[in-house]
Amino acid sequence: MLLNNLSLLIGNTFMYSAPLIFGALAGVISERSGVVNLGIEGMMTVGAFVGAAVGYFSGNAWVGFLLAGIAGGLFALLHAVASVTFKADQTISGIALNLIGPGLALFLCRLTFSGATMTQPVPHKLPKILGGAQRNIVAQNFNFDITVILAFAAMIVLWFVLYRTKWGLRIRSVGEHPAAADTLGINVNRTRYGCVITSGILAGLGGASMTLAVIQQFTPTAISGQGFIALAAVIFGKWTPQGAYGACLLFGFAQALSVFPGLAHTSIPPEILAMMPYILTIVVLILFVGRSVAPKSDGLPYEKGVR
């Protein structure tokens, strides 16, 4: 029983974390290049809708997943144009994306699904790692969605790219000291464009892993706050892929706990349980983490030739 419960909790933690992880990695890559991304929520919503809609019409969840990434990347292009080319206030641009993204997703949803604000369920969700239904309950609980594995892989890849390749060195230099990078012939704007678009792709995948794995369709509340939680995870994780990953697991655990049947019979109200992780986060921040330092040029447009 205990094993079952525990495995359920762990399984759910990973399940709920996966979309957050993609979202947080989206934040990490963008902000490491010096572009603050408050629009993760909007990008995820776009991905969530495109994933579910394409998954439904094509009958293939993988096609939906892929196109969700592409859609997220295209949508993020708006943010790149604003923050890199126009040197706009990145905070405002990100917030705008959070309005446009859900608006666009619901608008298109109503158009394609005869006025409904949710898509039809996709015929097949993304696969689970052990394939179909498992007999053993523990095995069932540990039968993660493939997105859980993909999210982990994405974290490893991003970590490797940032810290072990020349691209990572360049991205980080652009986020810290763009003028220095510029004098060494690194194209600051192109680097930032690349990172913001990658950010959109990751966020799009995050949204789709919600609507193609956790649930089976797009609904108006499929993405409700995950993008902001992801943003919090970026800061909590000190702008590193591995730190953000850990923070997302904590938030995923929170969500898992709030739906955990093992606690249904206790006297603790579920709402109090649900808020514990957020309180815990604050406590952890006060006790252990404290000041987290963003990349030095995060949020600052790079202007050269200006006296």
Partner: protein, 513 residues
């Protein structure tokens, strides 16, 4: 001048405008290969702009560039680097939280395959370079942990790593100690002996005399002259730079010190990282006296000022103004005790750049009558005060009271700060690097203002990295080394060389103690 392969660089008729501002107006520069060529001009004369054009950071509107007699089009720094041009910027272009090696290889990384970094090889390459040119520096240290002198070596290594034959050094000695400056000049000579060509941007005449073969002077974006350094006197160079005869000495009468106004006794302060930065420091300043603190950057100047102004806590010791202890209170308490500070960093500490000049003029006294009443600002009084300040301190343009401080030139910004601090009628005026980044005219103004306030009986504490400045206007010279005042002299008792050695921690031969 004729285009020839004898010249490493020839820039002919270079013109560059920013908006309506003409930064360079048909400027010529011809640099012979294997020489050290200095580019002399005041702040804002266009020296850096010219070099940024050569390095491909800016595109010239008109003019041609020839390298070794070949016409080139330098569209971006990559092209410059490919042509063997390396540049060390005045403000170092280093990523603070990267290691020395990472900074050197950035943009030209050693990779095994698929872009994966090969740090082992990179480390070795850097080590080889360090040994070849004798530029001692730890390849694995983080840039934020090494001294400014070391950081400059990293910048030079960056250029050499990219195979630079032509090195551009932008104001390289601004942050160096006299000893480090000597070392740098030695390095420059050995690089030239190795076949490199060096262009050095500077406004320091002595360095030009010591280092360069040839000197090109530009003034307000226009070419003035190119001279053989050996043939010219410092005064002649100076007047060519400024466009009028310049007196290099500051005129002042002997000080008439009064009672002790300000005293620091056995002060200990730690720096940001918790390491001792000011150690057992004692000094005193009398009314009507300028005490200058000579020292190399990073020997506790910043922490000393932060302790006096209460931005940081002290460990032990006392800071007294007119007999009252002010350590570990609050910045406001210090202001209330009639200590005013002209901070070295105008833009960071001195001014709120997006406040108007009027708003900036009352930054310390907006709370007191007549500038406010019952918690509400009296904008008429503030305007009146600001206009008076603009008039009395000759701030330009004259109608700038409601302009943002950001729009003013550095010299005028400094005048606002000086005016504001002096108008506080302080008993002690602290001036930290008060002439940093100013042109000759503004520097003269600042020095005269300090001496004038001294003659009015104020105590003045001058902290500067420019030894010339300390030597020429201080009545008493205290030498700061590793957080201690290691020696103290009256003006005229001591020569620059002695002070320079003490600043470097030496006693006689300049070796580190």
């Amino acid at each position: 001048m004729e285009v020839s392969s004898k010249y490493a660089v020839q820039m002919h008729g270079i013109t560059k405008t920013f908006g309506t501002f003409c930064a360079l107006d048909h400027v010529d520069l011809d640099v012979k290969r294997g020489t050290i060529h200095s580019l002399l001009g005041e702040n804002g004369a266009g020296k850096s702009t010219l070099m940024n054009v050569l390095y491909g950071l800016y595109q010239a509107d008109e003019g041609e560039i020839y390298l070794n007699g070949e016409k080139v089009n330098i569209a971006n720094p990559n092209v410059a680097i490919a042509h063997g041009i390396g540049m060390v910027h005045q403000h170092f272009m280093l990523v603070d939280n990267f290691t020395v090696t990472q900074n050197i290889i950035l943009g030209n990384e050693t990779t095994s395959h698929l872009g994966v970094l090969n740090m082992k090889q990179a480390h070795k390459n850097v080590q080889d370079l360090v040994q070849k040119y004798g530029l001692e520096v730890d390849p694995d240290a983080k840039v934020e942990d090494i001294s400014v002198g070391m950081q400059q070596r990293v910048e030079i290594l960056k250029a050499l790593y990219r195979g630079a034959d032509l090195l551009i050094l932008d104001e390289p000695t601004a942050v160096l100690t006299p000893q480090e400056t000597e070392d740098l000049i030695e390095i420059m000579h050995s690089l030239v002996a190795d076949g490199k060509t060096i262009i050095i941007i500077t406004h320091k005449l002595r360095e030009i005399k010591e280092s360069s073969d040839t000197c090109t002077i530009i003034r307000r974006g226009k070419y003035v002259d190119t001279v053989k350094v050996a043939d010219e006197k410092e005064e002649d160079l100076a007047s060519k730079m400024v466009g009028r005869a310049v007196k290099l000495v500051v005129e002042k009468t002997p000080a008439k010190p009064g009672k002790t106004v300000f005293a620091i006794d056995h002060l200990q302060v730690k720096d940001d990282r918790g390491l001792p930065a000011v150690r057992d420091l004692s000094l005193s300043v009398h009314a009507g006296e300028i005490v200058g603190i000579a020292g190399i950057d990073g020997n506790g100047q910043k922490e000393l000022v932060e302790a006096i102004t209460n931005l940081t806590k002290t460990e032990s010791g006392t800071i007294q103004i007119n007999g009252a202890e002010v350590q570990n209170t609050s910045p406001r308490n210090v202001v209330n005790h009639k200590i005013s500070t002209i901070h070295e960093d105008r833009q960071k500490r001195g001014l709120v750049m997006d406040f108007t000049v009027a708003e900036n003029s009352v930054l310390e006294k907006y709370r007191v009558a007549p500038y406010s009443k019952h918690g509400m600002l009296n904008r008429r009084e503030i305007q009146k005060f600001a206009k008076g300040l603009i008039r009395d301190y000759d701030v330009r343009p004259e109608d700038c009271a409601n302009h943002l401080a950001r729009g003013l030139s550095g010299g005028n910004q400094q005048k606002i700060i000086i005016g504001r601090e002096v108008e506080n009628e302080p008993d002690l005026l602290i001036a930290m690097q008060p002439t940093r980044g100013l042109d000759v005219g503004a520097i003269e103004y600042v020095h005269k203002a300090l001496i004038r306030e001294r003659d009015r009986g104020r105590a003045i504490l001058l902290i500067s990295l420019e030894l010339d400045e300390i030597m020429s206007i201080s009545d008493t010279i205290d030498v700061l080394y590793k957080g201690r005042i290691v020696d103290s002299f009256k003006q005229g008792e001591v020569d620059e060389k002695t002070i320079g050695l003490l600043m470097a921690g030496g006693k006689q031969n300049g070796k580190d103690s």
